[in-house]
């Protein structure tokens, strides 16, 4: 059963918060292999963590 993009994005997000199951990882990899939009968006969701770290460290007053 293929994931929809919406389901794929939920899994990408949860991957930032918990350990994904093997099934989830396989399904996600399969989906992003064929879906360019989700490939881009999943990079962008992960980029948010870096951006938030930078914001937290930003010492400007």
């Amino acid at each position: 059963m293929m994931l929809s993009c919406k389901e794929a994005m939920r899994i990408v997000s949860q991957g930032e918060d918990r350990e994904l199951s093997l099934g989830e990882r396989v399904a996600l990899r399969l989906h992003v292999t064929i879906c360019r939009g989700c490939r881009n968006a999943s990079r962008q969701l992960r980029f948010l963590r870096l951006a938030m770290q930078r914001l937290s460290e930003d010492h400007s007053t």
Binding site: M9, S13, R18, T61
Partner: protein, 190 residues
């Protein structure tokens, strides 16, 4: 290096106030709540001066105390105004507008150009902050606890009185909304 014996320990603490206030303000939307948390932190630091002995970095030590004070403030706020699932559902619609009825993208996201360069730009961080301000309050609170305070999902659930599933949904919505907002206000304009 400052030591607790230092007579101007208080002055050193005071110099960290602007930094601490900024840190607290990112998480707590109310200026007053942020100022309270910082005040409590500085008082606790004065009272627990000896706890600083031997530590290299005053700011790091204070930030550690501040995180606890912020979580206390969040706990008080969520006790006064418990989260309701009804409000959460209302937030759902907007975030999921980007998908059609079968759950596929209406418009496939394009890659962002040089996101790593954006990280070095002050205006980008300002754009990110504006996007954070646009998030619904409870969603922002959960997201900031996760990404700014570095809390785990279990701690977020406990403090906000929600289930892990609920928590993951909130974090998902926060990320999707921020992705959308940055695309519109920053990456899309290039």
């Amino acid at each position: 290096m400052p030591t607790p014996k230092d007579p101007d320990f208080r002055a050193q603490l005071e110099r960290q106030r602007p930094y601490l206030l900024r840190f607290a303000s990112l998480q707590l939307r109310s200026r007053e709540a942020a100022e309270d948390a910082v005040q409590e932190t500085l008082l606790a630091a004065l009272a627990g001066e000896s706890g600083f002995a031997g530590r290299a970095n005053l700011r790091t030590w204070l930030t550690g105390i501040l995180k606890h004070k912020i979580v206390d403030a969040i706990r008080r706020a969520s006790r006064e105004r418990p989260a309701s699932d009804a409000g959460l559902d209302a937030e759902a619609a907007e975030v999921e507008n980007v998908f059609d009825e079968r759950g596929h993208w209406d418009e496939h996201p394009d890659p962002w150009e040089h996101p790593e360069r954006a990280l070095e730009q002050k205006q980008f961080l300002e754009a990110l902050e504006r996007c954070l301000e646009g998030l619904p309050e409870r969603t922002a609170r959960a997201f900031m606890m996760r990404e700014h305070l570095g809390a785990g999902t279990d701690q977020i659930c406990q403090e906000l009185g929600i289930t892990p599933t609920h928590c993951w949904v909130m974090l998902y919505r926060a990320r999707m909304a921020l992705r959308q907002c940055l695309e519109t206000t920053w990456f899309g304009r290039q």
